[in-house]
Amino acid sequence: MSGFFGVAIPLLWVLPLVAAFVVQFMIRETRRQRQVAIVVAGAVFAIALAMFAINGWLEDFARDDVESGAVFMSLHFHMAVDGLNAMLLPMTAAVALATLISTPRSDLRGNTAARILAIEGTLLASFMALDAALLSLFWVASMMPLWQDSRRSHSRPLHVVMTLSIVATAGALLAALILMAQQGAAAGLAAPLDLLAIARSNVVITPLVGWLFLFVGLLRMGIFPAHLWLTASAWRAPGYSAMPALFTSLGSFGLARVVMPLFPGLCQDVSAPLVIIGAITALYGALLAIGQYDLRRLIGYFWVSQMGLVLTGLATLNAPGVAGGLLQAMSSVVEVSGLMLIALEVEARAGTTDMRLLGGLVRRAPRMATGFFLLSAAAVGFPGTISFVAEDLAIQGLLHQHEVAAGVLLVVTALNGITLFKAFKQTFLGPGSQHAKDLRSFEDLRGWEYRASVAMMVTLLVGGFMPQPLLGVRAGVVDALKQISHDGVVREDMR
């Protein structure tokens, strides 16, 4: 392992967390808070990008482990960069950076910047963690800023669903850790919670642990019927700090990191039901999205629908399906975050995201309208974007055994296309409502907002036109995961 990774891996999650602390407690001036947050997020993005580039160049995404000698109770600081998380790290950092840049200065006063940095740090740590306890700790921590927002919101329904989802997540993860620790210790493992050590040993962990991780993953993805917390937060929570926490691929990542490699038998057993649940979620999300009047709520349901598609792809347990699911999980983050950013920018300028009060904004904000349209096209899998490749692969994977689910997903993509164009039409085209006409000072994307949108689009288009390198990064992961369906044994490693 090169020295760079020894420094970069801890830096990637410690830096944003320290910066969050500094911004929250040590800097009072809002302008300075914003500057520090953006500089740190930029640095973290640069480090993540460098890791992605160097790792891909030198090691072909062989794992780079960093193990800490210090073990606190059974917390083992084992982190790594591999094919599964290599792309997620720069992408999460980029979304956090874009969010910070796009947040209006007036909204950063409430230490929103600190929350965004905290979410970034905990998410990056979760993605790199190869220790179950560490993963669980950061998993729960990544939801805490959102919970804190809901607590201060005076919105009891939202606070209740957020509390329930965090309690359920924490409870399930704690129970899973206790069971793992017991069985690992009984089998004589030095680090009973180390995912890699468990995978390499012949220790058989009870499937109940797999069920618990599966539940937590599905809850984090927002799979029906455990989606309420997500759609409610997407609609009503303070947008800029909620967005990076809501629209993350942590849920599907958890399935691919823990459930699929460690519990192959369970995966085979639940493959068909998960395909059905995924297809139902995709259809349910699409159906609810199409009738929405509020742009933010619509995007929340659209995300649910996309996660249904991701789950369906992963649950096929064959190479095209898993590759498609993983790719879709990644591209959805960029697309939905981009759409949400534009929705939040509209909200900041118009005071509402109710589409009945909007319309005709393209005259004042052509860049914003173009950005929304292109991101929508990318999100519904228009040819030439990453989602086209991902959906094509996922549906090809489904065709082997689940033709009906493949048909459902085709209907879902059609519905989602209609939904997003309808939203585009109601928000940006037409004569506009009286409220929209009165918005004489409505301004287009400016400076860095514009650059962030262009960067997102370029990422999606370049990735869509040349998807092979992206698929290559994940090829090792897909090869490892598809072993499950063939021989039902745990792979020696989890690359």
Binding site: D107, R109, G110, N111, T112, D149, S150, S153, H154, S155, R156, P157, L158, V160, L228, T231, W235, R236, A237, P238, S241, L287, L288, I290, G291, Q292, N318, A319, P320, A323, G324, G360, V362, F382, P383, G384, V389, D392, L393, I395, Q396, A406, L410, T413, A414, L415, G417, I418, F421, K422, K425, L429, G430, V454, P467, Q468, L471, A475, V478, K482
Partner: protein, 455 residues
């Protein structure tokens, strides 16, 4: 050597407009917008290069016959790959040249017609994307590549219908076009996937070669019906053709090239291209005949009662396309191809003339003493009064096709959506101290004004 050069030249036909579109997009990102002259110059150059490529294809076909040209894979993931394959045969060579010619004419016409229009650059940008999509559609050697071209044609069509976006009418019409396209595109996707499942390939040449060896039964019927459904949407056939007269909200030049000439015939092209697959299913062929005849009769009547020139020509287009469906259903594919090219040329001219329709009518009146409208009125008077009234009413109502689709499909879907949404909102509001009926309050961002402000 020569075939290789010609193949490479022909394969570039969709690439030139795409490159030109990217160049114009890049110019738009610069601080100073490109002038009309620059945009037209780039577009014109791309279209002529596209025409030269298409001529290479024609020459190739004359010298070497049909060629299955493989460029490689776009992407591959373990057991699946997306092949980039183009098919050069008589049909695609002729269509490619025809498409290029129509687009050169459109650019020439639009450079003057769109002068000083607010969306000048947007119009040419969309025309370039349309050209790339249309060339890919006619040259695509697999269902997937045809689908990509099909999607580009669809989205540019929608955006051009909504060209005058400041008015409610065009925007609403664009939504209707998009809904029809998206729903009917499921047919093409479904057909492609089922074809892959049935014959193990979606490359036209391979599928045609294997189709005889695998009598498909349900698969053959399913694939053929799915492709027919896709063609119905794009070619505005009953009952999903209500979008065509509404699509006339766009600029005249785009109406001519999309709905008179190229896009509206894309469905017929699909039927001709996939003829060996469609011939496997008698049900699909019967369906083609029934749908084609129904559309032809209904659209002819609706055309006669249309109050504006563009709608009348649009319905007349649907009539002729319906007849092409019938000829495809009967297996006369060569006749359908000739009909397609001849009709597309005539309608293109008619659409371009519609802004001068009143003047043309006056000339007709002066020269002949009567107009086409007079002749149509005389024909209606030949029908018995009661039957005439009923028929007129039905034709005016467009045979209630759209209303039925709205009532039986669109409204129930929206109803289910709103019902489920209501359930969720009520469930969430159960936790509200104000009771289930109270709306979820909007959360203000935590402003945390800081100690210095609080003090």
């Amino acid at each position: 050597m020569l075939p290789d050069i010609l193949s490479a030249g022909f394969a570039l036909a969709p690439v030139w407009p795409a490159i030109a579109a990217i160049v114009i997009t890049a110019l738009l990102l610069l601080p100073r917008r490109p002038s009309e002259g620059v945009v037209v110059g780039i577009t014109r150059a791309a279209m002529w290069l596209c025409f030269a490529s298409a001529l290479c294809g024609l020459l190739l076909w004359f010298t070497s016959g049909p060629v299955d040209y493989r460029v490689g894979n776009w992407y591959a993931a373990a057991e699946y790959s997306f092949p980039l394959v183009l098919l050069f045969d008589g049909l695609s060579a002729v269509m490619s040249v025809f498409v290029a010619l129509m687009l050169i004419t459109t650019v020439r016409f639009s450079a003057t017609y769109m002068h000083n229009e607010a969306g000048f650059v947007r119009f040419f940008l969309l025309t370039l994307f349309f050209a790339a999509g249309m060339q890919l559609l006619v040259l695509g050697g697999s269902v997937e590549l045809l689908f990509i071209g099909w999607e580009f044609v669809g989205i540019t069509s929608v955006l051009l219908v909504a060209f005058f976006h400041e008015r409610a009418g065009p925007v609403q019409a664009a939504l209707r076009v998009l809904v029809t396209y998206r729903v009917c595109d499921i047919g093409l996707l479904f057909g492609g996937l089922w074809l892959h499942h049935w014959l193990g390939t979606t490359v036209w040449v391979e599928a045609f070669a294997h189709v005889g060896e695998h009598p498909g039964g349900i698969a053959a019927v399913g694939v053929a019906l799915a492709l027919v459904f896709a063609a119905m949407g794009k070619s505005a056939q009953f009952p999903v053709g209500g979008w065509l007269p509404r699509a006339m909200e766009g600029p005249t030049a785009s109406s001519a090239v999309f709905y008179g000439s190229l896009s509206v015939h894309a469905g017929v092209y699909l039927l001709i291209r996939a003829a060996p697959l469609i011939e496997q299913s008698l049900v699909a062929r019967l369906m083609l005949i029934v749908i084609g005849l129904t559309t032809a009769v209904m659209a002819a009547l609706s055309s006669q009662v249309s109050a504006d020139a563009k709608s009348a020509v649009a319905y007349a287009t649907a009539t002729q396309v319906g007849l092409m469906f019938v000829t495809c259903g009967l297996g006369f594919y060569t006749l359908a191809t000739v009909h397609l090219v001849a009709h597309a040329t005539l309608r293109y001219y008619q659409f371009l003339r519609t802004p001068s329709a009143l003047q043309d009518a006056l000339w007709q009146q002066a020269a002949l003493g009567r107009t086409e409208s007079d002749e149509a009125a005389a024909r209606w008077e030949g029908v018995a009064l009661l039957r005439r009234r009923a028929l007129y009413r039905l034709a005016l109502e467009r045979f209630a096709g759209e209303a039925a689709l709205d009532r039986w499909i669109a409204r129930p879907v929206m109803g289910v959506s709103r019902y489920l949404d209501g359930l969720e909102r009520r469930f969430l509001a159960l936790h509200s101290p104000n009771g289930p009926a109270a709306p979820l309050p909007t959360m203000a961002p935590d402003l945390g004004l800081g100690p210095e402000v609080e003090a």
